[in-house]
């Protein structure tokens, strides 16, 4: 039986007999697995869980903000809602999501290896994430957290009456999950590539995760020590951030943002990696400027470490320091722009199709553009003076994190769902859900740009009544957005069991992962692949069933793609 055949001309496809999902049964085979694919699914379940928790807090925020007078929640409770929304979403959803779910599943497949370099450390990573998450959930149930996800001192170290210590311990522990995942990825890319898989033949998804891993390795230990020092101060009375002893709360901010700025690149680089896979596939065209996009990923990672104090323009820093950080902030936008230009150039002259993953990719392009440009406004000192700590900032980062990173995550989940489960999701329902999500997202967050510019501060539980119309629009949008999230949650689960069998390469796409059966066997490749083709090379791969223009040949892989 030719399991590598990708031409579908005959009767309905069937799932492979043995694959990683049915290789062994029982809860122990999942909780003690070292198979990167199963670990990816363990992460999928847990990040989805935390996404809903974070979403619950978001719902509370938006419901409360329907009224200008703060009638739903008290000020203290409101503080807890936005804090726990931020902590959950940043540390337990955005940072792990794409690397831990898609990265874990795909990187060994994409480099042609049987697993990651350290499979047991991979499992340990997940357990550390769960333990950290448990501490944080514990803090949420025993007093909550009201310091903002930024834990600024002296509120977090001295004055807060909320459960700061367990929350900080939880985040600290989860940081190790990040570090170990990054370590695993870095080493895997260096030492486990298949013969012929040179650095410049790697998919850009891998480059993006490599750059992300560099940031994880260099940045996460700094938040660890920062939170460690804050915890030491709260519990044992050490004084680095305590003015009474001569300490400085601003030192906390410097240390905190030294990690937390690069952290946002941990959140976006993997999404960019997904987009770099989606666009060539659905434009049937080689990515434009491969080397530039790869270099841009590394440039973002490096320059990203140099801009942290743009979060601190209003703390009284010297004008010269502010100038330097403002300039560097503008600089860090350049590699991101290079990527957007290269993706757009890839579309030009391509044979574009509008399958669901591509809809998410288009959504990403537009929304990331808005988010990125508004980031430049914020990096501009004069403007930041006016909009710092307002909803303008909130809108900016939600455009990037939700409009960018979450779109990338969902696009990737849809794109690789056939590989992960062996089955396709329902295409028309998925397209509708993507549209609902897009509309809901913009209705939620665009009014927030207006609100911020008009002066509504963030993290306040009340606001001037003239802002109510925008807040109501935002809440309405949030409810639509929620539907946009629930739909995929439901149909992806359904499709995993009842979807149409997908075959090895339903799109078709060019990566090594698509040469394996769907779902892949536990050892990924029966025979170690030998790579002789360049990345995204649609034209020299006859087995993909595409003609010179990237159009499926008669009897090629797909029924005309997307139209089921």
């Amino acid at each position: 039986m030719s399991t590598s055949s990708t031409i579908n001309t005959g009767p309905a496809l069937k799932l492979p007999e043995k694959h990683y999902l049915n290789a062994s049964y029982g809860i122990r085979s999942w909780l003690l697995t070292t198979d990167h694919k199963r670990i990816a699914l363990l992460y999928l379940a847990s990040v989805t869980f935390f996404f809903f928790i974070g979403g619950f807090f978001a719902m509370m925020i938006r419901l409360h903000l329907m009224s200008p007078y703060g009638t739903l929640l008290s000020a203290d409770t409101y503080n807890r809602m936005f804090t726990m929304h931020g902590v959950t979403m940043v540390f337990f959803f955005l940072i792990p999501s794409i690397p831990a779910v898609l990265g874990n599943f795909l990187i060994p497949l994409m480099v042609g290896a049987k697993d990651l370099a350290f499979p047991k450390i991979n499992l340990l990573s997940w357990y550390i994430y769960i333990i950290g998450g448990s501490f944080t959930l514990y803090s949420m149930m025993t007093g909550g957290l009201d310091t903002g996800w930024t834990f600024y001192t002296p509120l977090s170290t001295i004055y807060s009456n909320s459960a700061v210590a367990p929350a900080v311990v939880g985040v600290f522990i989860t940081g190790f999950s990040s570090i170990l995942t990054g370590l695993n990825f870095l080493v895997t890319v260096h030492t486990m590539r298949a013969p012929g898989m040179t650095w410049f033949r790697l998919p850009l998804f891998v480059w993006a995760h490599y750059a992300t891993s560099v940031v994880m390795i260099l940045g996460t230990p700094v938040i660890a020590i920062t939170l460690g020092l804050a915890a030491m101060e709260r519990v044992f009375g050490l004084g680095f951030f305590n003015p009474a002893m001569g300490g400085d709360p601003i030192l906390f901010q410097h240390l905190f943002w030294f990690y937390s700025h690069p952290a946002v690149y941990i959140m976006i680089l993997p999404a960019m990696g997904v987009i770099s896979e989606l666009i060539p596939t659905f434009a049937r065209k080689k990515l434009f400027g491969y080397h530039f996009v790869a270099a841009a990923s590394l440039a973002i990672a490096v320059i990203g470490f140099l801009v942290w104090a743009h979060h601190m323009f209003l703390t009284g820093q010297s004008t010269y320091a502010a100038l330097a950080f403002s300039f560097l902030t503008f600089l860090v936008a350049i590699p991101s722009a290079v990527k957007v230009f290269n993706w757009t150039a890839t579309l030009f002259g391509g044979s574009i199709s509008f399958d669901t993953p591509m809809l998410y990719a288009f959504g990403f392009l537009g929304l990331f553009l808005v988010g990125g440009l508004t980031g430049l406004f914020l990096g501009c000192l004069g403007i930041d003076m006016h909009v710092h700590d307002t909803y303008f900032v909130v809108a900016h980062f939600h455009y990037i994190m939700v409009g960018g990173a979450v779109m990338g995550y969902l696009g990737g989940l849809h794109f690789w769902w056939p590989k992960i489960t062996g089955r396709k999701y329902p295409e028309w329902l998925a397209r509708i859900a993507a549209l609902v999500l897009f509309v809901g997202f913009n209705l939620t967050f665009f009014p927030q740009f207006v609100l911020g510019y008009l002066g509504m501060p963030r993290r306040y539980h009340v606001y001037p009544p003239e802002f109510q119309v925008y807040n109501v629009m935002s809440t309405a949008g949030a409810s639509i957005l929620a539907v946009g999230y629930l739909l995929p949650m439901i149909y992806l689960m359904w499709a995993a069991f009842y979807g149409e069998v997908a075959g090895n390469n339903p799109w078709p796409a060019t990566g090594l992962e698509w040469t394996t059966p769907s779902p892949p066997p536990t050892e990924n490749f029966e025979v170690t692949p030998v790579v002789t083709w360049e990345a995204y090379d649609f034209h020299n791969r006859p087995e993909l069933g595409l003609d010179v223009l990237g159009v499926p040949r008669h009897g090629g892989m797909l029924p005309a793609h997307g139209d089921d």
């Binding site: 290896a113 350290f118 486990m192 230990p221 009375g237």
Partner: protein
């Protein structure tokens, strides 16, 4: 479940496996550098701002004990390197010997540290707990473990420092925050290291390590040397501020 050099499934060759493990440990050590780096930054900024308080704090540390501990750790790095060498040349009987020596030296370090910490608690030098930088100078009978000459030096230093910085008592707590924070973190890493050494000792007594395969010894060696290097930084930073008189 004891391995004696079998190839793990995800690797093609033993060479690849060894290279991978080594790269993994080096990258982990990079994360440790960033971790300690954060507290080093806090130390640097505060020492620059409150020099007199830091100099005074340093004065209260025992240079003798610090030097002893430095020597002990350097020796332990030597014995660790000897353990790695013994593994590499296949002298299986020597591996547990050198590992045991390293552990003993590590415990001597802990012992000295315990004495030093206990002293700080007795002398009211723990931030937030009745902290009083002048306690020993004002109550010499409570601080019998400081000899007369050192006490005299401390008194001089204290007077000069109080003049230079009227808020000395507050700021000195920052020095001790750095002292306990940095040496505490370091000690925690040494405890983990000691645990790893015990694990290696068990393995070496069971004959697991050979010239063909000794990766765990190699990697723990790297970790132990790193912990040693951190101390080499900590010693001058904490014990040797303004001591050249």
């Amino acid at each position: 479940m004891h391995r004696t050099g079998a190839l793990y499934g995800q690797f093609e060759t033993l060479e690849q496996q060894k290279e991978t493990a080594s790269l993994g440990m080096w990258i982990f050590l990079v994360t440790e550098v960033m971790f300690f780096g954060g507290i080093m930054l806090a130390y640097t900024i505060n020492r620059h701002t409150y020099y007199h308080a830091f100099a005074m704090g340093s004065q209260t540390l025992s240079i003798q004990l610090g030097t002893l501990n430095t020597g002990v750790l350097l020796a332990s790095s030597f014995t660790m390197a000897m353990a790695v060498w013994a593994a590499q040349v296949g002298k299986k009987k020597l591996i547990p010997l050198f590992l045991a020596l390293t552990i003993v030296l590590g415990f001597i370090f802990f012992g000295v540290k315990y004495v030093e910490y206990a002293q700080k608690f007795h002398h009211h030098l723990v931030p937030g707990r009745n902290f009083d930088i002048a306690y020993c100078v004002n109550n010499p009978s409570q601080c019998e473990d400081i000899n007369a000459k050192d006490m005299e030096k401390e008194r001089e230093e204290l007077t000069a420092a109080m003049e230079a910085d009227p808020d000395l008592n507050a700021h000195a707590q920052l020095y001790y925050s750095a002292y306990f924070g940095m040496t505490g973190l370091h000690a925690l890493h040494m405890i983990i290291g000691a645990g790893l050494l015990f694990w290696l000792l068990r393995g070496s007594l069971a004959g697991r390590f050979s010239a063909e395969w000794n990766t765990p010894v190699d990697l723990v060696g790297l970790y132990w040397h790193f912990v040693d290097i951190v101390w080499i930084y900590l010693f001058p930073l904490l014990y040797l501020i303004d001591r050249h008189k």
